[in-house]
Symmetry: none
Subunit: 196 residues, 4 copies
Amino acid sequence: MRRKDSITRDKIIKNALQMFAQKGFFKTTVDDIAGATGVAKGTVYLYFKDKQDLYIATMDEHFNSALALLAETENMPGTPSEKMHRITNEFINYIMHLRTNYMPFTFENLNLTGKTLKKINTTVQPKVSAMIEIISRIIQDGIDKQEFREVDPRLAAFHFLSTIRAIFFSSYYLTNNAINTENILELFFEGLNKRR
Amino acid sequence: MRRKDSITRDKIIKNALQMFAQKGFFKTTVDDIAGATGVAKGTVYLYFKDKQDLYIATMDEHFNSALALLAETENMPGTPSEKMHRITNEFINYIMHLRTNYMPFTFENLNLTGKTLKKINTTVQPKVSAMIEIISRIIQDGIDKQEFREVDPRLAAFHFLSTIRAIFFSSYYLTNNAINTENILELFFEGLNKRR
Amino acid sequence: MRRKDSITRDKIIKNALQMFAQKGFFKTTVDDIAGATGVAKGTVYLYFKDKQDLYIATMDEHFNSALALLAETENMPGTPSEKMHRITNEFINYIMHLRTNYMPFTFENLNLTGKTLKKINTTVQPKVSAMIEIISRIIQDGIDKQEFREVDPRLAAFHFLSTIRAIFFSSYYLTNNAINTENILELFFEGLNKRR
Amino acid sequence: MRRKDSITRDKIIKNALQMFAQKGFFKTTVDDIAGATGVAKGTVYLYFKDKQDLYIATMDEHFNSALALLAETENMPGTPSEKMHRITNEFINYIMHLRTNYMPFTFENLNLTGKTLKKINTTVQPKVSAMIEIISRIIQDGIDKQEFREVDPRLAAFHFLSTIRAIFFSSYYLTNNAINTENILELFFEGLNKRR
DNA sequence: GATGAATGAGCATTCATTCAT
DNA sequence: TATGAATGAATGCTCATTCAT
């Protein structure tokens, strides 16, 4: 008896993550994913109820990876500021590695059904919250060490994630993208206002 | 000067913008748009080659609106900082008004064909560049007036647009969203680092 | 502009009736029906929400035909008994004409969803009731004319319909099927018990 | 003599009979049956060539049960008429016990292949014939005892089976179904015509 | 220009059947 | 014998696009 181990399941998720990131939910067919994984279409349905279910599992995997990157960096030595630089670079590498193609300015959603939306909330939301939590702790550490200003650490963490996204997309609209990372981070840390 | 019948064309675009923003490209059917506009499905194809073509026209309209908001504000009285606050509020109002529903964390794209991708580049890119340009001028004005630090104004403009997006999505992951606008802007202007 | 007249709809129903009667609900594909009608698959869905909806419309048509046969015969001259013989022959001809193939002993159902089940009740049930009603009137007429015994006319009508079904299926299990019609009807009218 | 392991086979058939009666051939999956029996899907295929083969075995079992009921009653004391009343009640109980759900008016068949159709003929037909045979004997006995009229006993037997089916379905279209059994049987025995 | 009926390629999903263990 | 993971043919349904009127 072959065991329904999670190896196949993991392979499917891995490939689905690649394809969803490159072609999006709608343009990625279950056949695509099955083909890329080297299994038959029906096999995907042994592990996932339907395409949306697979998508949720894929998002879950995606955020787990991101969380793992964060957790690893948090425990490394370095100043809070250094950690945040390291996180930025790792995230950008990770996203580049997905070879995602998605348009920076696109209205898109999955029109998830109420049930799935609830499942997303119970799967993805906590991951994002956990990411914000870790970054918050780093920021709080910086505040305690008099490195950062006294700000709401969670708000700053959220702004930080958004800034990483901006760096990633800057290549679409700005030149010199290699240099952008440092310059945008500099803006994030120093702000726009002149100091008096 | 527009031809008389482009009134129909404009109505289609207006409704398409609403629907694309609410349901995304794939979940919005040509029937939906035609129905909302009060014309027959075939009529849409009199004005647009295909659905992607309509989408591009819709994005164009979207960025024209944004550009108009920007241009209007640029010429109003006020400090550069005041102008940027005003822009933020107007953008958020505008996006709220579209009642867009799209998920903050979603891989999605339209898998545009090479030809369409090129058309996007020739339509949307210039609009975004123009937006960055206007904001750059405001920022440069602030630099000249010693209000802002000496930064790359285009990079700062890009970061600013991204910050507006962050404010919009903060309501998904943070509480107190009414207060977020001011606090995130404060972070944008003052930065994270403690000033010495 | 071509008008969405009911000609196409009627043709689809006609062909669906034939095919459902010959191959059953599950073995009949929407493609089959579309092909037999000479339209594309999608066209079927212009007129019917889904396959079950088409099935219901088909049953409706089926019972309308049966009702029409009944109504016609009721108003013809003849004794009640003669009318019932005529009805029997017409029904058997009609069913033969459908070339139905369905097995006399088969557990089968459509596992209709609650909603469809309700629709069946509001579509088919009244037709069957109407059939029973017409036959009841003929039987009541026979009772009034002292031709039939004093029985519950609706119960007798139901038994009569069942007897027609028996005649139809008798060919599967009994020989001499040409003769069966008269003999089974004779049993229906005279009963099994010896008269004293 | 049965092999020891046909216990599994019997269990599968028992459960298949329940499920086919409740959900029909197409809506019942092999998984359903395996699950209800507590064996793996593959096990079903150790005992039955395919789903149709299992269905035939199930029909066989069904008619064996019916035959057993008949045989038992035939040898009990009582007048022919009493025996037929007893048979009716036992059949109705048996069918109720299967909790069958199938629609009274449905075109349905299995679209059996020629080979399987032949197998049906060699399995089910003889059983039905045997049922008719037993009932024929009871009827012949009634004729001999001057209780019944001089009719073709096999035809009457067939009509009797059909009448039982009518009783079963009468609850769908007539009220007072508890009373229907006796009244429809009365119609069967006494006929519709007034006696002179 | 305007319509909307018709088309059919495309895709998600199911499930009987197989076969390696 | 028994298992159940894997298969892939089959099918219902959608929707962008066309075109006769």
